[in-house]
């Protein structure tokens, strides 16, 4: 792998950039791998990378039906935070946060992880109770965070309307300074390049059409480019997980919903943190390019159309203008939609299945991007050892039958 650095950039400039290498190969599929990862999004690529780097399993294929990083990795609003309520979820996202903090160097790819902090606003007394509960739990779980009052919020975000005249005045917020945003595409590309360097085969334009299952054990996959064998298969296919599980005769408690986001035209820097509000229902940050990146909740119906309904956009922008009246004259440039696979308890599934050797990693709903490295890491550990990693264990499919849900709805009312 070519090492990336400022010095390298200068060197390549002098040779007219004619000597840059491919960031990843375009290999011919082998007949057999030790592990197959289905799904070449951020989570799948991260899983492959950590399998190779941390667990010494380099004979790995990542099978992607389209282009790597072309799904939700490329469509989210890039927020990274770990201030989740329940111990199980907090452990998972904090594990991820720690990996984020060294990710650019680890991958030798600048994922532009910007720890500019995330505010979760409270507008009602119950909001504030929930915020205090969550921040107290975070603190005892070793996750940074504090509760701010309205003045504290105003000091951090001078352009926000924190006055009492607002329809739902800001009463305070939780503040996680280590949280922030990252450059979404770079995460997929960085993991792909680093995994490839470790020998992982990334097979783009390759579609899994079925599983080879004998005697309750996985033996590989059928694809549009022929059969590929492996005794361990991990599916990391987000919105398509249900379809894939169906091929193995497994049902998952997932629904795929449209999740919309939008950006303004690029502006000179005006907002230095990420601001989220469950109550007025919207969140906003400003990208390094200057766009205001805005989102809200999912649309209520199932949809794979990568678009949602217009009123969701209207309500989101109403919320943004309620919080930031100065943005009324700014213009919205573009909107789009992702397909998020949601679980009934707003937590993911990281699980074995009743097919031995077949694992699923899905159901991240609106929280997938921020979990990318952590999800990949614990999933890789689970695939490598044949036992779910302790952080992943609470997210088994079994919980929907025993009742041991990890209900993050309260903390996840707004997509993020």
């Amino acid at each position: 792998m070519q090492h990336y650095s400022g010095f390298g950039l200068v060197k390549h400039a002098l040779s007219h950039h004619e000597n840059w290498q491919r960031q990843w190969r375009n290999p011919v599929p082998k007949k057999q791998y030790e592990v197959i990862i289905v799904g070449g999004g951020g989570h799948g690529l991260a899983t492959a990378y950590y399998l190779a780097k941390e667990f010494g399993i380099k004979n790995v294929a990542v099978i992607e039906k389209g282009w790597l990083g072309g799904g939700n990795t490329a469509r989210n609003t890039t927020i990274v935070r770990s201030n989740y309520l329940w111990d199980e979820a907090a452990a998972l996202y904090e594990h991820s946060m720690k990996l984020w903090e060294g990710l650019s160097q680890d991958l030798n790819y600048n994922v532009m992880f910007s720890q500019r902090g995330v505010l979760n606003l409270g507008h009602t007394l119950q909001d504030m109770r929930d915020i205090q509960r969550r921040v107290n739990a975070n603190r005892l779980n070793g996750i940074d965070g504090e509760v701010l009052d309205a003045k504290g919020v105003q000091a951090l975000v001078p352009i926000m309307d924190c006055s009492k005249n607002a329809r739902y005045p800001v009463l305070g917020a939780s503040w996680q300074p280590r949280a922030g945003v990252a450059r979404h595409d770079a995460v997929a590309w960085g993991f792909a390049r680093a995994a490839d360097a470790h020998g992982v085969d990334i097979l783009q334009q390759t579609e899994v059409t079925g599983f080879k299952i004998r005697d309750g054990q996985i033996h590989g996959v059928h694809t549009n480019r022929g059969d590929i064998e492996a005794s361990t298969v991990g599916c990391v296919t987000a919105g398509n997980s249900g379809v894939l599980a169906g091929m193995a005769g497994i049902k998952l408690p997932l629904e795929s919903h449209p999740l919309q986001a939008l950006v303004s035209e690029p502006l000179k820097p005006v907002l230095d943190t990420v601001v989220m509000s469950n109550h007025v229902h919207g969140y906003i940050s400003q990208s390094d390019k200057g766009d205001l990146v805005i989102g809200a909740g999912i649309d209520g119906y199932n949809g794979y159309g990568q678009r949602g309904s217009y009123p969701t956009v209207e309500h989101t922008l109403q919320a943004i203008v309620e919080m930031f009246p100065i943005f009324s004259r700014v213009r919205m440039n573009r909107q789009w939609g992702g397909i998020v696979d949601t679980c009934p308890d707003a937590c993911p599934i990281l699980s074995k299945t009743r097919v031995k050797g077949l694992y699923f990693n899905c159901g991240w709903g609106t929280g997938g991007f921020k979990a990318t490295p952590g999800s990949g890491h614990v999933f890789a550990a689970s695939l490598a050892k044949g036992e779910m990693h302790s952080i992943a264990a609470p997210f088994s499919i079994d919980r929907f039958h025993t009742g041991a849900l990890v209900d993050e709805h309260g903390a996840a009312g707004v997509a993020h």
């Binding site: 400039a13 109770r129 915020i131 509960r133 070793g142 303004s264 000179k268 309620e322 213009r331 041991a404």
Partner: protein
């Protein structure tokens, strides 16, 4: 103030109306009818901006929505600022002030351009992914500087003085685009009687006809435009919306139209007849059929230094000359792949300026326009193209060479032509943005060298948007589309007679996107593809070399098409370059998908009136006026404004919340208080199966509740988790009045309907919301009976009217139902009267209550009083993960009911049946002065290292004036078995509180006070 490039005649501007405007601090003059762009060109302003990444000087390239460079900051006042206005779409008005968005100290002499010049080489696409990584600690500093160079314009820092609104429109036929196809379509559809909306983004309708050379019925095309618009305006089934952009096409023919109502008049909307006007309006249109007559965007050619000011797309040159009477230079070189672009040269020549040459990439061009040009003596260099522009801040020459299109190379020598303007045309891309908003992927047509829209139901396309270019055919195509659309909507449309247009003979165009240079692309001077984002052909080539092979990857790696113009000029060229680098065809590297908005839309217009005081409804009770007058502080509960507490003014000083709540609490415990409880949901339930139904949706039993009696009930979802609670009264054998929580009212009614309509339609029962019909006032405290007795004819004797009874009669002469239920633990009467009488009854209670010091109290006191009694609040003690037993409310669960009620089955699931679940308990702080923080986490071992195992949290916590101590409710793992044990609450400030687990009932455990 002369306008050097303004022609002495021609154009559609009002020459008599001169307008003064300011650009980058300098004053200029233009005319009514100008755009800011045409006025700048008229004044010979070459540089309008500096580019985003390399800080290169940039000029105006196009004349419409596709313009990438002329993106300026508008506004003379802080609150009137508008960032990123496209000068080509901004009508000129008197006093307009605009400035470039980039460039320091100014756009003419930009220091950053030095960085761009020297550093440009080191900034290939994605360079930021490859550097700024060491040392890791410095990234946030690097980022600060990266961000500094971000953005185009700036946000206003003051609130918007303007207002916006929405108009909900419905029509049978929506025609988008009022060029020849759209006008013909609208006319045809309108003649059928169908409701037609015709919308066009420009200041003036007519589209390409406004600068056409063709004559319609032997007259200038604009005459037919005027005549058609007049006819349409005269029909009351037609709505004409000029200056309005169809910015989003959504499912099932829902289209958003952004109408700019005053932006052509001033930076803020001036009042009209003393009334506020909206600055812009969003039409939310539901159309039966949509006709897309959106025309085409011309593609420029990609050659070296094609960004130097003076490079323009050919059609824009014609537009400026013919519509605005502006010729944007003196000496023109045209580089083209097609006949149509020859118009630019002919128009240029006719305006009296010099056409140096036309470089035509085709070896034997022979169309009608080519012959005209030859006849005019214009030099045509065939088989050639401009390979490089010369010049720095303005084009000074064009390097022209013979090119081998198939071999992608320059053949033969290079000739340098002196010129100041370089127009180019690589063909015409149908404007298919709207058609692809709902996910339909366009398909490439090799014969047209263009992507054509794939249509969903209910949409048709006409004219240039579907690759029909000749005016006569465009008109016919539009007419057919209009007639068909009306027909499909059930209206019979007669055919419309169309004007005669001479058919022009055009030669075939050739495929040319990037022009080859003598040097390989990576070594040649920059050849720009996306001007706004500084994406070059070399950048695209590099991306493909690095493994970015799908067009989606290329776009993301290079940022191509992500600007405010969304790549209208550059995307197809970029795809062609990627295809060349990958040795694939254009459709093989992917297709191009567009998302709303077509052009950026003011956020305020999307918000409409739903802001400020109208952001969200405020719901009020019938006594709200009284609460306001009596100084209540309000709490937001759902959309309701509920009195939170009533601070008194004592000696001119307003009580603190703590003091007010303590006073209110004491009043209820010792005297009498009154609460406005009108916000609770109330559902009238009637029918022979009402009782059975209640038994199924509540956890407890309802079979034996007699008329006149009231019962408390808990509701679960079928996962066994509590979601609402309240009392329900038996009014008659088949008649019940259910109350719900304030926030849960709508949800519970829908919940009941859901089960009735989908699972148990055989049950004979009806539910009707009566929440707003009744006003509810809770009179509570030891003196409640005495007070109420003064006003009512109901027998309040403790035996005749017992706890959990309800009675009817009058209160203050008003018919009332009175419920003897208590959420305070004190003697309490909930008085329900028809809400129109509420203010009277409320005031009568105070008139009589004065001697008892009747004290109004709010939600905060209500919370303290109920918590002292261990009464839960659904949504505060519960969070969707709490069962009735977790709440210690087994007494409210009827396990032996015959029907397996909602939630019952789930309670015996493995995890739900655990006995060590988090359970509701009381907490008594060891230090009575401590009021625990709500949300504080509970641990058993406060010395445990982080992460510290947590066993629960505080759900409610208050100071109790009755106990003179803090107290709390909490959920604790296995808490019901831990009575008397000590738990710890480590706080953020470093202190650790100690508390004892106690019963949830702090006052009057036997419940005697409410029974007096």
């Amino acid at each position: 103030m002369s306008q050097p490039n303004r022609l002495g005649q021609g154009g559609r501007i009002e020459r008599s109306r001169k307008l003064t405007f300011t650009f980058n601090g300098k004053r200029y003059q233009g005319h009514a009818g100008d755009t800011l762009a045409s006025a700048l060109l008229a004044n010979g302003v070459d540089i309008v901006n500096r580019s985003f990444k390399y800080s290169r000087p940039r000029g105006i390239v196009a004349a419409g929505a596709e313009e990438p460079n002329a993106v300026v900051q508008l506004g003379s006042t802080e609150s009137g600022q508008v960032p990123n206005v496209r000068a080509t779409q901004q009508a000129l008005f008197e006093g307009l002030e605009a400035r470039s968005t980039n460039g320091w100290p100014n756009v003419q002499r930009d220091m950053m351009s030095l960085v761009g010049k020297l550093g440009g080489k080191f900034m290939p696409p994605g360079f930021y992914y490859k550097t700024f990584m060491a040392p890791a600690s410095l990234w946030m500093t690097y980022e600060k500087y990266i961000r500094k160079s971000a953005g185009l314009g700036r946000s206003p820092m003051e609130n918007d003085p303007d207002i916006y609104d929405h108009l909900h429109q419905h029509c049978e036929v929506l025609v988008i685009g009022a060029g020849p196809a759209g006008l013909a379509a609208a006319l045809a559809a309108a003649r059928s009687g169908a409701r037609v909306i015709l919308v066009d983004e420009q200041e003036e309708m007519g589209g390409s006809l406004l600068d056409a050379r063709e004559r319609l019925d032997g007259k200038p095309a604009t005459q037919w435009v005027a005549q058609t618009l007049k006819a349409l305006a005269g029909m009351d089934n037609v709505t004409l919306l000029p200056r309005t952009t169809a910015n989003g096409y959504h499912d099932h023919n829902f289209v958003t139209l952004h109408e700019r109502r005053t932006e052509h008049l001033g930076e803020t909307a001036a009042p009209l007849n003393g009334r506020r006007q909206v600055r812009s309006r969003m039409h939310r249109v539901r159309a039966g059929r949509v006709v897309l007559a959106t025309g085409t965007h011309e593609r420029p050619l990609v050659y070296a230094n094609n960004d130097v000011p003076g490079n323009m797309v050919a059609g824009a040159v014609s537009t400026y000359i013919r519509r605005y009477g502006v010729v944007p230079g003196r000496r023109l070189v045209l580089s083209t792949s097609n006949d149509h672009a020859y118009r630019a040269a002919l128009d240029w020549l006719e305006s009296g300026r010099e056409v140096v040459a036309i470089a035509d990439a085709r070896s034997t061009p022979d169309g009608e326009l080519v012959e005209q040009a030859r006849a005019q003596g214009i030099r045509i260099i065939t088989g050639s193209a401009v390979i490089e522009a010369k010049g720095d801040t303005r084009v000074s020459g064009a390097r022209v060479a013979k090119v081998d299109l198939d071999g992608f190379r320059v053949v033969g020598g290079v000739e340098t032509l002196e010129c100041d303007t370089l127009a180019s045309s690589g063909g015409y891309s149908p404007v298919i943005h709207l058609a692809s908003h709902t996910g339909a992927r366009p398909t490439w047509r090799d014969d047209l060298l263009a992507f054509l829209p794939t249509l969903v139901k209910g949409v048709s396309v006409a004219g240039g948007a579907q690759g029909v270019f000749a005016t006569a055919e465009v008109l016919k195509d539009g007419e057919t589309a209009g007639r068909q659309a009306a027909g499909e909507a059930g209206f019979e449309a007669p055919s419309v007679s169309l004007p005669k247009v001479a058919r022009r003979r055009d030669g075939a165009a050739c495929a040319l996107y990037q022009v080859p240079h003598e040097k390989p692309t990576l070594r040649a001077p920059k050849q720009f593809v996306d001007l706004q984002n500084d994406v070059t052909a070399a950048g695209i080539e590099l991306a493909t070399r690095e493994g970015f092979e799908s067009i989606e990857h290329v776009k993301r790696y290079t940022a191509m098409g992500f600007g405010t113009d969304q790549g209208k000029l550059g995307n197809i060229n970029g795809m062609a370059i990627a295809a060349r680098c990958l040795d694939k065809s254009i459709p093989e590297v992917g297709t191009t998908v567009f998302r709303p908005n077509y052009t950026p839309v003011t956020i305020g217009a999307i918000v409409g009136r739903h802001c400020r005081e109208l952001f969200d409804p405020e719901r009020y009770t019938a006594m709200h006026q009284w609460h306001v007058e009596h100084g209540a502080e309000f709490e937001d509960v759902g959309q309701w404004k509920r009195p939170w507490y009533f601070p008194r003014k004592i000696d001119g000083k307003t009580e603190t919340m703590h003091d007010a709540v303590a006073r209110e609490c004491r009043a209820v415990r010792e005297g009498v208080g009154i609460l406005d409880a009108s916000t609770l949901g109330k559902i009238d339930i009637q029918g022979p199966d009402a009782r059975e139904f209640l038994g199924r949706v509540y956890t407890n039993k309802w079979a034996k509740l007699a008329p006149g009696r009231v019962r408390y009930g808990l509701m679960c979802k079928d996962d066994g988790m509590v979601f609402d609670d309240g009392t329900t009264s038996c009014l008659g054998e088949n008649h019940f009045l259910m109350t719900t929580t304030t926030g849960g009212a709508a949800g519970v009614l829908e919940w009941l309907e859901l089960w009735h309509q989908t699972e148990w339609p055989e049950l004979q029962v009806y539910f009707t919301s009566v929440t707003d019909h009744w006003a509810t006032m809770t009179v509570t405290g030891p003196e409640a009976r005495k007070l109420l007795a003064e006003l009512t004819d109901i027998d309040l004797d403790r035996e005749a009217f017992q706890f959990m009874d309800w009675r009817e009669g009058t209160v203050a002469d008003v018919p009332a139902r009175v419920f003897r239920i208590s959420f305070t633990g004190e003697l309490a009467y909930e008085i329900n009267v028809q809400a129109n009488y509420a203010q009277h009854v409320w005031e009568a209670l105070f008139a009589h209550g004065e001697k008892y010091d009747l004290t109004p109290y709010g939600t905060e006191t209500m919370h303290v009083l109920r918590a002292e009694k261990g009464f839960i609040i659904a949504g505060q003690e519960t969070d969707g993960s709490v069962t009735p037993e977790d709440l210690g409310m087994k007494w409210c669960v009827g396990y032996d009911k015959p029907f397996s009620w909602i939630g019952q089955r789930a309670l015996t699931r493995q995890d739900t049946a655990r006995t060590d679940r988090k359970q509701l308990v009381g907490l008594k702080p060891k230090d009575p002065k401590v009021v625990l923080e709500e949300g504080a986490q509970i641990v058993l071992d406060p010395k445990h290292a982080i992460p510290m195992p947590m066993v629960g949290h505080v759900t409610s916590s208050y100071y109790s004036p009755t106990l003179d101590s803090g107290f709390a409710l909490a959920v604790v793992k296995g808490g019901q078995q831990k009575m008397g044990e000590t738990v710890y609450l480590p706080m953020a400030d470093g202190r650790t509180h100690e508390a004892e687990i106690v019963s949830t009932i702090f006052i009057d455990p036997k419940g005697e006070r409410q029974n007096v």
